[in-house]
Amino acid sequence: MTSVPVPAPEASPAEPSGIKIGPVIIAFAIGTAVSIGIGVYGRLHPPSGHAVNIAGFSTGAAAKAFLASIVMALVIVQVVTAMGIYRRIPLRDAWVGTVHRWSGRLAVLISVPVAVHCLYALGFQTYDGRVIAHSLFGCFFYGAFVFKMLILTRDDSPGWALPLAGGLVLTGLTALWVTAVLWFLV
């Protein structure tokens, strides 16, 4: 119809109706780079053993467990509202999308002080299996988050891309919570 140029190599597996896989791959690569970058920083900088304490808690660990549990609760809101958006459960009002977006924004912002404490004061550690898993998932989570945000900027991604990204974020956060808060409380 129009003078469409020859597709760039990475866009060659383009599906019908303008679906593009290339941007998904690029977003995934950026997210992966973020994960690796966080891991390298956490591994290479000497842990300070010190970070600012959030007022009102007996220890930094208690404050982190509390904040991380708020995040986990918001993530459950995320799953429920996402299921509503995808019509898996009968939640169809206009507010569902708004709740999904704002609970997500709140969750990731609340996670930041926890993650910075982990990274700055403790670093990427490998002294037992739980700690290795927690360190890896911590890096993984923010990479998955970046991946998801980048997917969200476009409407031409394949239908599976956004649920995949959301699922990765959910997996990462749940694993972080289990390897830290659940361990801390039990």
């Binding site: 053993g49 010190h50 924004r105 004061a121 945000m149």
Partner: protein, 230 residues
Amino acid sequence: MKHRSPLITLAAVVLAFAIMFIVDILSGPPGSTSAETANPSAAPATAGATSTSPQPTETTVTSTSPSASNSAEDSKFPEKIVYAGQAEDGAGAIAVAVLGTQAAAYFCDGRSVESWFRGAVTSSDISLKSKDGATLQASLDGDHLKGTLRTKNDRVRFEINKAKKPAGLYRARGSKTTIGWIVLEDGSEVGVQTTGEESAPAPDLNPENPQVTVDGEELGAVPINGNADL
């Protein structure tokens, strides 16, 4: 079509990370930040609160030392450990030695103020007292020790790391003089010597050959463990 709001969210998260890092770096113990960012060491326990100079001897420490894993994994003190570091706000240095269920601690400012503490350990908490009624409460937070020291009219908070020899707590006792030293991870020392009612900065201590001479009296300094009789 493109949406910008996810990018704004992303930018907000990056900004939040930056703010938290800056707050943490600015709130760090004095003198710690420049050395920490300049020293590309991956060891978890070497970042003493006052690592103002590069480590000459500890650069080969691995991150898998058994004591580090014990303390962080069980949230319980190892059988024998010493923590040492600077208190917050430059109030002085603190060392806490734990042995089994007993703990001993020492606080001093390197000029004239010092206190020795004794007390008990319960899994991840310690509660100590000095002879003049000051108290020291601390608990294990990850692999470091966090707590508060209270005297009649002052309160000092601290968050200190495990001290690897030669860092640690030392004391020498003569007929009239008692000296306490806290040797920090970077090799620097904070100590006070007290003769009768007079307190003064401690003489230099060489942890390899811990002999000092005070008023013509030769004193031997010993490392202090949690069960020390103070």
